[in-house]
Amino acid sequence: MPKLKDLAKLASSYTVLIVEDNKTLLTKLQQFLQKFFHTVLSARDGREGLHLYRQHKPQIVITDIKMPEMDGITFIKKLRFNDPEVKILILSAFDDKEYLYTAIELGVFRFLKKPLVLEEFTQTLIKLLELMQHEARIQLLKSYEGSDNMVVVCENKTPVLASDRFLDFFALNDIEEFNEKYGDLEDLFLKQEGFLYSDSISWKEKLLANMQQSHQAMIKDSKGKIRHLMLKAYPLQMPQLSREDSAVVLSMVDITGLELLPHQEKEISAQKQQEATVKVLNYLKENGSEVHLHNFYRGLTITDKGKIAFVSKDRIALKTRANQQKAIKKQNWVVIHSPLLPKDVICEEVEKLDEEKHITTMKRYHLIDSSPSKRRTIRVEPKEDMRMQLCFNEHCFEAEQIEDISINSVRCTLFALPAGLEKGSKVMITLQQEGGLTLEFEAAIFKIWMQEMHYEVVANYNLDAEKEQPLVHYISRRQMELIREFKHL
């Protein structure tokens, strides 16, 4: 007896229609198929069958030939006229050649003779469902045709089907040859920290735990040359396929030309880097990969995930949630961060803002060296009632304005600087809020730069728990105020 478990696994997401005028047989078939299929529909003749088919669009139809009202052959002809893909099985006591030829002409999958042998029936259903799964996978692969991606479908972590581009990459003819040569994908990925396959985690675990995230991978091609790939796994979610949770599609693109591999570190021209950026942004777009978007509101970082909706050499459109879109609108720029980009990208000047679709089109973009994504801690612009004094060699200066503050740094503007103040100088800082926070601590000057009328100074510090706690509370409250303010913009 064929394995009924196999049938259950394969059939669980499909709908089947039985058309049979023999009531006893119809009931028996119905009871049997209900154990395996998602939905079982039944009709007593072709006319009723056609009506149910139009309503429910089952993927499989099992029909008798001789029936009242509308016979099986007329029923199949009408079905085929509307749907050349539906799978049909004939169950009939008539097995003369004329019927057989017509069945072949109409693309019937099998002609089964009554009385029905359960074992043969089950085996036929399993074969049919396997064929349907295979066709669905091929359909899936076809949807990737024309893109730069190499695609491979894996079930239980073993490749079962691959696109021509994938096979060409390894100079192989089919997936069997691939499996023979490589076993599974395990031996393919070369170890590299920060990449998909590193010492700390199995690549499969990492990939499966991070579905729909892009990873970098190093791999050897058919000539043994090291290639740099971007790779992403998608869970296989197709209604035609059974609910096999271990089935995944791996989509890869070869980006060796970007020269981003550690051993390729060398000077890359600005033009080449721009070309590389367009290519990576395009990859992120095609794969629907998430990127991080960064903006500020009065010192506070507003970040969210987003997707690239469109990219060309001189335009980029980003899809993100309403709050981030509001921040982009307010600032007229946004920074994109992705571990797959060589550097962060700043997009400037809003060209179009579609609030319904949450898509913002920006007029230009380019790579930047210094980025808000590098901020390690939350900063806020304090309220006007916060005063700051900076003392160096017993000379104290009042800050004109505190630009922003975090638990380990403060940025302020000063009209004049104490003599001799430079990067690394040790200073005493006093923060005082009317009727609130008062803190005094030592800090080190990290950066000083001159503006037209004033100096901007950044000082870093390392507070002990006793001093850090009130500052965390202050920043937390201030953050809440700024969020409220931002939401009401």
């Binding site: 981030q324 939350i378 706690q469 965390v472 937390s476 953050q479």
Partner: protein, 249 residues
């Protein structure tokens, strides 16, 4: 019960339970547990609680690991006694925050806007690997929150179950009398009957949990179930529990 209890320690992997917060329940105070998992030199903080407990918890955690080594902070659900301190932790650490995707849009009400630091959990859960071991976010929806997860640590084999298994018991009764499952039942029953949505959810969670090798189940309130008998008795009770909508007409 002490304010800190080491649940597991093998030299490279450590699980610590803190019981720092007190919620006022009717006429007594209820202790709230927070958990820390340390693997080598990085850590995961579980259900750090409200702003009221932030300072004390920060100090307690710092004794075990520097705050900048906290890689993830996991919230089993959105309640204030679980997640209200998110702003404080987002300022004091560089951690990423893990919570059901259902609650993402609510977090700005707690004063949090760095959405790219959030790792929203899909309903089916997720797994984070470390070496051969892993942390698994086990779906526990409707028990009691509609977007709710337990966290399973494969190395220690401890399941951090959030509100599931929580004993609403006065602090001074903890540990001794109310440690074994049978003695604890009277403190479990009223809470679970009212807060858990229905038996179907209880059975679904229990059947997932039964697939895991378990040394302990550590809830957000009360002591962990840490013997095979107690774990088994608890799961048997929980999967048979009539609660929530089961008890409505």
């Amino acid at each position: 019960m002490g304010k800190e209890q080491i649940l597991y320690d093998d030299g490279t992997h450590k699980c610590i339970m803190f019981s720092l917060d007190d919620e006022e329940v009717e006429d007594f105070f209820l202790s709230v547990n927070q958990f820390l998992i340390i693997q080598n030199n990085s850590a995961v903080l579980i259900d750090p609680g409200s702003e009221a407990v932030y300072e004390e918890l920060r100090e307690a955690v710092s004794k075990h690991i520097s705050l900048d080594r906290i890689k993830y902070i996991f919230f089993s659900h959105q309640d204030p006694d679980v997640a209200a301190s998110i702003t404080h932790w987002s300022i004091a650490t560089q951690a990423e925050f893990i919570i059901s995707k259902l609650w993402i849009r609510f977090l700005s009400h707690y004063g949090f806007m760095e959405m790219s630091r959030l790792l929203p959990l899909e309903d089916g859960g997720a797994k984070i690997g470390f070496g051969q071991e892993y942390l698994r976010f086990v779906p526990a929806h409707f028990l009691h929150s509609p977007g709710n997860f337990s966290l399973y640590d494969s190395r220690s084999q401890i399941l951090f179950s959030g509100d599931i298994g929580a004993a609403i018991v006065p602090n001074d009764t903890l540990n001794n009398e109310a440690k074994s499952f049978h003695n604890r039942l009277e403190y479990l029953e009223p809470f679970h009957k009212r807060y858990m949505a229905g038996n179907r959810a209880c059975r679904k969670w229990s059947s997932e949990v039964r697939k895991l090798p378990l040394k302990a189940i550590a809830p957000q309130h009360g002591a962990p179930f840490d013997t095979a008998e107690d774990i088994s008795a608890f799961l048997e009770w929980f999967e048979g529990l009539q609660c929530g909508m089961d008890l409505e007409d």
